[in-house]
């Protein structure tokens, strides 16, 4: 079972269809599957629903798929950095399902883990809880009842993920905060396609330190990443 593909286009070949649900890793522009996003733009696949914490920025990341209007609906927690997103949403051209950040991550992990739904306190008593089942559990400090809402697992048709390194069996290692949503997104995809900075030979990744086992990974490509920084923030050496 060869998992390694030469290009992002080839890695997505035969698995795209209009109206599909895609889970994407990344937080802001950190750890986003930039090459696969470009390939999605090129493919012309449309009416997508994309579960991703953010929607990129204008002209980069998922922002590219917004510009081409290939996205019908976003499932996100924060979209504040994207003017085109806001414009399409306010004009009624784009659907938006807000998910609290932790709920979104847990929904992805749940879908990938055979958990159809779970109860969280997050969002109870807010817009997010409206129309969702409420259940009381005796989880207070002295067993007092607390209110939880039911959130459902996300079962995506495709997961697009960015990792640092992979071996050819799909074992993945991430780097620093670029890990973020990538493992849960990978887990919830029926098919999971991963782009990495480096494919290394089997046996060179420490088996104790693989962040996501290859069983979750179906296709891998290696490529050059721009890794754009959203907000460069520094201190001057004089402060030290």
């Amino acid at each position: 079972m060869k998992k390694v593909f030469a290009t992002a286009d080839e890695a997505l070949d035969g698995i795209l269809h209009d109206g599909m649900l895609i889970a994407a890793g990344g937080f802001g522009l950190c750890g986003i599957p930039e090459l696969l996003i470009d390939a999605l733009v090129k493919s012309g696949v449309k009416d997508l629903t994309v579960a991703s914490n953010n929607a990129g920025v204008d002209g980069f990341g998922l922002g590219k798929l917004l510009e081409t209007k290939q996205i019908k609906k976003m499932m996100s927690s924060y979209v504040g950095e994207n003017a085109e997103f806001m414009r399409q949403y306010l004009a009624g051209e784009l659907e938006l399902e807000f998910n609290p950040q932790g709920t979104l991550a847990e929904r992805m992990r749940a879908g990938g883990s055979g958990i159809a739904g779970f109860y969280t306190k997050t969002g109870y008593g807010t817009q997010i809880g409206e129309g969702k089942e409420v259940k009381v559990f005796p989880t207070g400090p002295q067993g007092q009842p607390e209110h939880y809402i039911l959130e459902e697992g996300i079962f995506a048709d495709l997961a697009i993920v960015k990792a640092w390194k992979a071996d050819d069996t799909g074992n993945l290692v991430f780097r620093k905060t670029a890990r973020n949503f990538n493992p849960p997104a990978a887990m919830c995809g029926k098919i999971c396609v991963v782009e990495v900075e480096e494919i290394v030979p089997r046996g060179t990744l420490d088996p104790d330190h693989i962040h996501l086992p290859g069983i979750f990974v179906h296709r891998i490509i290696q490529g050059e990443h721009e890794k754009r920084i959203e907000k460069v923030t520094t201190r001057s050496r004089e402060d030290a």
């Binding site: 937080f27 802001g28 979104l104 847990e106 109870y124 008593g125 620093k176 905060t177």
Partner: protein
């Protein structure tokens, strides 16, 4: 004299105790890190990091190392990284001792609104709903009034809620307030700020 942003952050830092794991929101809360002094505080960044360090020196920015406000940061010798599901596991699971967050409105029963203004400003709640639902102590740092001078400490929030009855303490430019039975209690006021001034600028019941 009302507190400025840095004074508010310094006052908020007094809420933190040795050994605490703490999450700081975007804006003034981020400044709190500058005032923790010698206290052994571990900062969580909900995008997947415990032990957040200061901003990097120029030229040392790492695109793989950002905080929840998408700013470049650094790591410490206690740092650990993890995925978003684990990050919010520890948040919802009550492992974070305190969260210091900004707000648009707070109600006298502890309701918090800080994620959207319908039809006008749509940013999203990010991790705020999870934080207020899961963290032991929620401290809000905010201006006491909006630019038009209208109260932001209200009898009831008018904006969509982030959480209900979740705020423990509020630090504004005018003072420090606790959410208690029946309304807000003045804990202290900024220098030369009178209780009368606070009452005049507050819609919420002050008990």
């Amino acid at each position: 004299m009302p507190w400025d942003r840095n004074q508010m952050a310094a006052r908020a830092a007094e809420e933190l105790e040795d050994g605490m794991y703490v999450n700081l929101g975007i804006g003034i809360p981020t400044l709190v890190a500058n005032y923790v002094g010698d206290k052994d505080i571990t900062l969580q960044s909900e995008n997947g990091m415990l032990g957040m360090g200061p901003f990097p020196y120029e030229g040392e920015e790492d695109p793989d190392l950002i905080n929840a406000g998408k700013q470049t940061i650094t790591e410490l010798n206690r740092t650990s990284y993890f995925d978003s599901a684990t990050s919010f596991g520890m948040i919802r699971g009550g492992k974070i001792a305190a969260a210091i967050l900004g707000a648009m409105e707070v109600a006298e029963n502890g309701d918090l609104a800080n994620w959207m203004i319908p039809g006008k400003l749509i940013k999203g709640m990010g991790g705020a709903m999870d934080l207020v639902a899961g963290v032991e102590k929620v401290v809000v740092v905010m201006d006491h009034t909006n630019k038009a001078g209208d109260a932001k400490l209200l009898k009831a929030c008018t904006l969509p809620l982030t959480g209900t009855g979740v705020v423990d303490r509020i630090i504004t430019d005018l003072g420090v307030f606790d959410v208690v039975e029946g309304g807000l209690k003045i804990v202290e006021t900024a220098p030369e700020v009178t209780e009368d001034e606070v009452r005049a600028k507050t819609e919420a019941t002050i008990v």
